[in-house]
Amino acid sequence: MPLMPKRVKYRKVQRGSRAGIATSNTQLAQGDFGLKTLERAWITNVQIEACRVSINRHLKRRGKLWIRIFPDKPVSKKPIEVRMGKGKGNPEFWVAVVLPGTILFELAGVPDGLAREAFRLAAAKLGVKTVLVSRNGAGQG
């Protein structure tokens, strides 16, 4: 099941700002390899789930995966063919706001080639440019 908060204070929130570049979650915390975004975006919970599934399928139960982002922002939408006004639409899905430089996923316990391919498959599920970072210095970070 895609990620979403268990409990929220408010059902609907405003869009908020996506300005600037990431100042936190920019370095590897646990794993040896990471997937870093180079663009700003709203990553939906379904996209995160698709990435997780594709990485796990490629790794075939090897390695360990960390998801470093969490979709805690509800996005509301009006039904189709509804006139403007009459209040804000209903929450439809959840997103994680990512800024350039944010680490999205981390992997450990797998060789370089396997991690690279797993992240390539995962990156195809996201609509943002990404780069692989590793602890031993291959790539950025």
């Binding site: 099941m1 895609p2 979403m4 908060p5 268990k6 409990r7 929220v8 204070k9 408010y10 059902r11 609907k12 570049i21 990431a22 100042t23 920019t26 370095q27 646990q30 040896d32 180079l38 919970n45 379904v46 599934v53 796990n56 139960r61 090897r62 390695g63 360990k64 209040g87 804000k88 929450p91 439809e92 899905f93 350039p100 430089g101 450990a108 316990g109 970072v133 602890r135 210095g137 950025q140 970070g141």
Partner: protein, 224 residues
């Protein structure tokens, strides 16, 4: 002690974020050297040369010789700041070393060997801690500590207390801290039909942490 590393530096007079940004655009890295008497000197390093030096050495905290204006100073590379997006070094922090006094340094831990639990039982090696803090004389600082993990089975771990160093070193990090562990392989996932879950998720909503009754009193009709 690893081989001697030399860092060429020049004195800089300008300080502040604007000047630092100007320096970076010109291909330099702003740096600071803290003296043992408490004074500090503002330096600038050649960006390309410094990054190449870092790429050749594993340790985050290195003992280097800072050459500035014909004067050589033994210093510890205490901290490097990197750009979150590009990974380039944006600032370097050196501290002059007093050769007679012991100091605390972070030394990287490198795991050696393939654990038994990984090779024979399909476990996953998880390195929890990548550095440990050690107290030693500046001349004894090593680039890395190698830890043999080949004997680790599934569910077992290596802690800081298991690392044996000679008398010149005192490990500051708590002995109970886990360095590496071998975990059980991930269980096979049951993957339900994707479309069904997607439609179910569209309906699922988290509960509100604010009580509904209190909202109604305030006239929060939008919540219902």
């Amino acid at each position: 002690m690893a081989q001697e590393i030399t860092v060429n530096a020049e004195l800089r007079t300008e300080s502040g974020s604007t000047a630092a940004r100007r320096l970076r655009r010109a291909g330099s890295i702003p740096a600071v050297l803290s003296r043992t008497d408490g004074a500090s000197e503002l330096l600038k390093l050649d960006s390309h040369e410094f990054e190449r030096m870092l790429s050749r050495h594993a340790g985050a905290q290195l003992v280097v010789t800072v050459v500035c204006g014909g004067k050589n100073t033994k210093a510890l590379l205490r901290e490097i700041q990197r750009d979150g997006l590009t990974g380039r070094v944006t600032h370097a922090d050196f501290g002059e070393i007093d050769e007679r006094h012991k100091m605390h340094v972070q030394i990287p831990v490198v795991l050696v060997g393939i654990p038994d639990g990984v090779a024979n039982f399909g476990g996953v090696l998880d390195q929890v801690r990548h550095e440990i803090e050690v107290s030693c004389l500046p001349s004894d600082i090593m680039e890395k500590i190698e830890v043999d993990v080949s004997g680790l089975g599934i569910g077992s771990d290596i802690t800081v207390g298991d690392i044996k160093l000679d008398d010149r070193y005192v490990i500051v990090t708590h002995a109970d801290q886990v360095i590496a562990t071998v975990e059980e392989p991930a269980k096979e996932e049951e993957e339900p039909a994707t479309e069904d879950t997607a439609s179910a998720d569209a309906v699922a909503q988290p509960e509100l942490s604010v009580k509904k009754g209190s909202k109604d009193k305030d006239g929060g009709g939008a919540q219902s």
